[in-house]
């Protein structure tokens, strides 16, 4: 049964759909790239939510924490590690796609994809 607790997941999915919409419907290369970023962050947000538990603490063990009590209260750190890796990968993709878009702009003088079509499709 969906409850209020499920709302963040819905928002993550909504963000994902917004990103997809930008990729499908927008004609500007820069907006397409923004769509990619939104999709990526929607997935990251989703992963973050998976690791959350109500009232949890950040998964960083300090000298003051008793390990057993800490383990009982901390949120799942693994999705956060996954997100960090996904962010790094996203950064690489973003750098490459920006370089491509700039090169395309050099060639065509526009970011409009309807004017960039030498390929048959």
């Amino acid at each position: 049964m969906p409850t209020l607790d499920h709302l963040p997941y819905l928002f993550a999915m909504l963000l994902f759909v917004i990103g997809l919409y930008a990729i499908v419907a927008k004609k500007n290369l820069v907006k397409l790239i923004l769509g990619l970023i939104v999709i990526e962050y929607a997935v990251n947000l989703f992963l973050l939510l998976l690791g959350y538990r109500g009232g949890g603490v950040a998964p960083i063990l300090t000298r003051r924490d008793a390990p057993a009590e800490f383990l009982a209260r901390t949120v799942d750190p693994l999705p956060q590690a996954l997100i960090l890796t996904a962010i790094v990968i996203g950064l690489g993709t973003l750098a490459l796609v920006t370089a491509l878009a700039l090169r395309l702009y050099d060639r065509y003088g526009t970011f409009d994809i309807t004017e960039i079509k030498k390929l048959k499709g």
């Binding site: 994902f16 999709i39 997935v43 989703f46 992963l47 796609v97 491509l100 079509k117 390929l119």
Partner: protein, 505 residues
């Protein structure tokens, strides 16, 4: 010493060395030598692995009960590993001469080995998130390689490929996340151990759909194929051979097989989806190929079609298995699919290298502007003919045997309509390659191309070697099937026993 991690560590190390060498302006011979040496060593290593039994390597000593990331050498991954190393070796040898036209040789080799490291990682890893990371490494390297020439078309193709590839990666990551939430683990074997309890949950359909879309797009199966005919022809020819020859297999089809056979367990629905995707890709791919006049674009459409054969055949195997049909039929279907996968790697990379060789001397990829090339370029002509006959399924070349086995398996499974479709697609393939032979190799030599010559031994040798593989691969099948295919086929048919094989007990 354990050699499995070296299949990832060596290409990565070489990949990071090359840009440094490039920037230090070291001699070209050093770069070429290092590239050939590294691929040759990896090929030798992967062949050596064939003789060894299945094994699992836990990185950093994190073995169960504390499962870390593991590398798995089972039949299927060994098969893919050998194919990847072999094609990359031939592509590198071909590149030595072909890449003369491009600057920045060091960056080219660097990206090439990054692609290789990514594919080796995908094939070997036993961890879902690690799989995602390696697929992204291979994908980012391939986006950059598609745009390597920096011409307008190449940039455009690369952009399109990158956008679609990133969307598919997002779906894969979404699927990995959901699976982690369901099972609390990212290890494929541990997920497989919990898979029977999960099957039938509605969320599993969502996970399956995410993976099917994500990896289906990477494998360019038909509703998701739009990027391939742009991206593969735009890359330099040796890279086209790598992308069409192995990347869509290692990054797409292999992962689909691994996940749906070994991790989720094949059920009737997934098998039917495989069959449908395969049959549609097979037909649409070849129909789109027939009308093409750009040689490389034509080849790219055939890649979609030929991978359809593989998916269809393996899907039929899975369907027979899932409905409890006779195991020998399922085994034959899976065997035929894997055999065709290897054959496709051989003849499609050969065709792309031939197209590269022709483009190198003639400067064009348009079939209508070529003609009579088999006289000035006898070696390339011979290799191109062998490859065209192989892909069209003419005996005694390897494509004939794998297509024959696929059709026999489909008939035995009782899908007569699909068998007829397979035969029809085979005829259409033949038709489109008659066109290639007629316009590129036969006929009068155009005035402009009077002075063309063979491009040199460094480019012809890989062509001849691959042509020999196309001929012998079919004829000598009984000799090497036991070493290469039988373990892979058993790994796929054993299904969820994957978990027990990895985790023990």
């Amino acid at each position: 010493m354990e050699t499995l991690p070296l299949f990832i560590a060596i290409p990565l190390a070489v990949a990071f060395l090359f840009p440094v060498f490039e920037k230090l302006s070291l001699r070209r011979a050093l770069l070429d030598g290092l590239a050939v040496l590294a691929t040759a060593a990896l090929l030798a290593g992967s062949l050596g692995l064939l003789a060894q039994p299945d094994r699992v390597y836990w990185i950093g000593g994190w073995a169960p009960p504390v499962t870390g990331i593991n590398l798995v050498s089972d039949g299927l991954s060994r098969l893919m590993l050998v194919v990847v190393q072999a094609i990359s070796f031939f592509s590198i040898v071909f590149s030595l001469r072909y890449m003369d036209r491009y600057s920045s040789r060091g960056f080219y080799y660097g990206l090439f080995f990054l692609l290789l490291a990514g594919m080796n990682g995908v094939v070997l890893t036993g961890d879902l998130f690690n799989l995602f990371v390696f697929i992204e490494i291979a994908a980012i390297a391939s986006y950059a390689l598609v745009a390597f020439g920096c011409e307008s078309e190449e940039l455009e193709a690369s952009f399109k490929y990158l956008v679609l590839g990133s969307v598919s990666s997002a779906f894969i990551l979404l699927g990995v996340g959901m699976l982690y939430n369901l099972t609390g683990t990212l290890n494929m074997a541990e997920v497989a151990a919990k898979a029977p309890a999960l099957s039938g949950l509605p969320i599993m359909a969502m996970v399956g759909a995410c993976f099917l879309f994500g990896f289906g797009l990477k494998a360019a199966m038909v509703p998701f194929h739009a990027w391939l005919p742009d991206a593969h022809p735009s890359a330099p020819a040796p890279i086209s051979a790598m992308l069409s020859g192995v990347l869509i297999k290692a990054g797409g089809v292999y992962v689909l097989f691994r996940l749906f056979f070994s991790v989720f367990g094949m059920d009737l629905l997934y098998a039917r989806v495989f069959m449908a995707l395969g049959a549609v890709s097979m037909l649409i791919g070849v129909l789109l190929a027939v009308g093409q006049w750009d040689f490389k674009r034509l080849l790219a459409y055939h890649s979609i079609s030929q991978m359809g054969y593989v998916l269809l055949s393996v899907g039929v195997g899975g369907e027979v298995l899932a409905r409890g049909g006779p195991t020998p039929v399922a085994a034959l279907a899976v065997f035929a699919g894997l055999f065709h996968l290897v054959n496709h790697a051989a003849f499609k990379s050969l065709l792309f290298l031939c197209s590269g060789s022709m483009e190198y001397v003639t400067g064009t990829r348009q079939l209508a502007e070529m003609g009579g090339l088999s006289r000035p370029m006898p070696l390339t002509g011979l290799a191109c003919r062998v490859a065209a006959l192989s892909i069209s399924g003419i005996p005694p070349f390897n494509g004939f045997w794998s297509k024959l086995l696929i059709i026999i398996a489909i008939v035995q499974a009782g899908h007569y309509a699909l068998a007829a479709l397979t035969v029809l697609v085979s005829f259409l393939t033949l038709l489109s390659f008659i066109k290639v032979q007629r316009y590129a190799l036969e006929g009068p030599l155009p005035e402009l191309l009077r002075s063309v010559r063979e491009a040199g031994l460094a480019m012809s040798l890989p062509l001849l070697a691959l042509a020999a593989l196309c001929l012998l691969g079919g004829l000598l099948l009984p000799l090497y099937a036991g070493a290469l295919f039988t373990p892979a086929q058993e790994a796929m048919l054993s299904g969820l026993n994957y978990a027990r094989a990895i985790l023990g007990g």
